[in-house]
C-alpha cells in the first residue's frame, strides 16, 4: 500500500469533487475508504495498492476528466 497526495489545479465547483471522487474510486487497486478530495486546498489524498495500480494511471484518470495535475507525492504507508 502506498499513500498518494495529488495537487490539482484550482478546483472551483463542488461537483468537481464528486466527479474526481467517483473517477478515482472506479480504479482497481484504490482503497475506496481512503479517497479524500479536498476542495479548498485542491488536493486528492488516497491509498492505493502499488502492485495493481500506478500513480500515473491515477493521474491519467484525473486529467482525462479535464483537471490539471500539478504534482504528486507517493509515500509508503
Amino acid at each position: 500500500m502506498k499513500k498518494a497526495t495529488i495537487q490539482l489545479g484550482t478546483l472551483t465547483c463542488p461537483s468537481c469533487l464528486q466527479k474526481i471522487d467517483n473517477a478515482v474510486k472506479a480504479l482497481d487497486g484504490v482503497d475506496k475508504e481512503s479517497v479524500n478530495v479536498l476542495f479548498n486546498s485542491s488536493k486528492v489524498k488516497l491509498n492505493f495498492d502499488d502492485e495493481i495500480l500506478s500513480i500515473e494511471k491515477i493521474e491519467n484518470a484525473i486529467t482525462t476528466m479535464g483537471y490539471e495535475v500539478k504534482k504528486s507525492q507517493v509515500r509508503d504507508v
Binding site: T12, S15, N40, S41, G66
Partner: protein, 616 residues
Amino acid sequence: MQPLILKNKNKIALIVGILIAVGFISEWTIHNESIFAWSLIIGSVLGIIPIVIQAYQALRVKVVSIDILVTLAVVGAFIIKNYEEAAIVIFLFLFGAFLEQRTLNKTRSAIKELTEMAPESALKKMGDDEFVEVDVDEVDIGDILLVKTGAKVPVDGTIITGQGSINEASITGESLPVAKEKGLTVYAGTILENGTLQIVADRVGEDTTFGKIIELVEEAQDSKSEAERFIDRFSKYYTPAVLILALVLGLFTQNVELAITILVLGCPGALVIGVPVSNVAGIGNGARNGVLLKGSEVISDFSRLDTIVFDKTGTLTVGNPSVAEKEFYADNIDEALGYLASVERESDHPLAKAVLEKIGETTFSPVENTEVIKGGGIVAHVNGHRVAVGNAALMEKENVKLNEKARADIARFESSGNSLVITSVNGELKIVMGIRDQIRTGVKEDLRKLKKLKVKNLVMLSGDNQGTVDAVSRELGLTEAHGNMLPEDKSAYIKKLIDEGQIVAFVGDGVNDSPSLALANIGIAMGTGTDVAIETSDVVLMNSDFSRLPHALGLAKATARNMRQNIIIALGVVLVLLAGLLFSEWVNMSIGMLVHEASILVVILNGMRLLRYKLR
C-alpha cells in the same frame, strides 16, 4: 483533444462573448437578421463543446452534474429556435466559471501564502566544508546544513556554529527578529535575517513544526461540519431531481421554454459553495494572525461560546513567581540582604529563586548549621549571626517581635495574593518580601474584550491557594475563581458545566491540563510552536500569545455569521427565482443564469470580507 479544449475554456468564453456582441450590434445597427442568427448559432455551438465534454465525463463516472442541466437547456433552446438565449446562457456559464476561479483564488490566498513559505532547498554538508544545494526532501535527520543570510531555515534543527537573528513570523506570527546562537533551536520556514549558521537537522519535512502547522491548516480548511455534509448529500440528489422535474413538466405542459428555464434555475451553485468559501477565508485570516482554527465545526461551536475556563499559572499569569513587594525594617539593609541571599542560595525552593533574582549582586557569606523547619522556613548561622528566613509562623517560633507597621504590611501583602518571605537576624525583623506570580501584561484588557464579545462567564481554576486565586480574580474582574484544584478537579468542573448545557472553552498551556483541553467543547492551547498541544486542541494561539484570544473569538463569530449569510443569500435567490417563474413573466433562461452566476459571485465576495476581518 478534450483536455486541450477544457484548458482553453476561458478563451472560448471570450470568443462566445465577442460573437454575441457582433450579433447584437449588427441587429441594432444594420438590422441584419441573418448575421444576428448565425453569430449566435456559431457562438452556441462553439461554447457548448467544453460543457458537453464535462457533462459526458461526469456521466461516465455516474455523476449528474450541472453541465448536463446546461447542455439540455441549450439543446431545448435550439429546438424552439431561441439562439439568443442559448448563446447568452452558455456565455454566462463559462464566464461565471472564470470569475469564480479568480475570486476563489483570492479567498484561498491567505492559506496559500502560508504554504508557499515552506522551504524548498537546503545547503547540505557533503565533504569537508563543502556544502551542496539539495531539495529539502533529501535532508535527513542528523545532516549538517548551512543557512546563509536571507535564506529560509530548511528544517527544525539545533545551531552548532554561528549566530544570527531570525524572523519566526511563520511559526509564531511575531515578526520581531529573535537573536539565536549555538545550542538553540531553529525552526523550518523561519528566515535568517542576518548572520550565518550551521545547524544539525532534528526534524525534517512534515515532522517539523511548520510542516505540522501547514498540514493542520490544510485539513482545517476542508473539514466539514454536519450542516455542510447535509448540503453535500442534498446536492447529490438535487441535480437529478431538477432534471426529472424539468422533463416531466416539459412533457406534461408541452412548454419547452418552461422546462429549460427550470433546468437553468435548478443549477445548485451558491448553496454548495457558500459555506466552504467562508470557512477557507476565516481560517486563512486566523493563520495570518497567529490563530489556528481547526475546521468549521470548531468555528461553529466556538462562535456560540458561553463560558471560558482559564488555567491560572502560565495562562493568565506569567507562570514564573517573582518578588512583587518588599519592606525593610532596618537602616543598613545590605548586610541583611547578603545574609538572606546566602541562605536562599542553598535552597531549591521556588520562592528562593525569585528572592535571589530580586537581590541580584551582593556579598555572599558562608552558611553553617542550616536547619529546615517544616512548614516554616530555614534557620541558619551566617558570620556568627542567627538568620531565620520563612513565614510568620517561623517568626513567632523564633520570638521575633513584629511591630504594628510590620503586621499591617504582612496583612496587606497576603491579601493581594503574595507568598511571604520574612527575614530576621538575631531575633530582629529585617525584611519582608511578598512573592507572587505576575499577571501577564494586557490580560485585563483582553478579558474585557472577551466580555464585549458576549462571553457570559470567565472562570479561573488553579492549584494555588484560594487567597492567591481570589486576589488575581479581583484584579482581573473574573466571574468565578476556584483554587486548590488538582488537574482532575479541573476536568470534573468542566464536565459539570457541559452537563449543565453550557458550551465551554478551556484555555491552558497543555502541560498538565490536557484532560481539560480534550474534555472542553473547545480546547484552546497556548502553543509555543513546539507543543503537542497543537495536535490535541481545537484552537491554537501561536507563540502563547494570550492577546490573540479575542481576535480568535471575534473571527470565529464573524465566520459563523458569514456562513449563515451565505446560506440565506443562496436559498433566497432560489426562492425569488422560483416565485418569479411561477407568478410573473420576468424570469427566463438567460436571466435565470445571470442571477445564478451573480449569486455565486456574491457569496464568494461576501466570504472574502473575512480576510480583512479585524477585532474592533
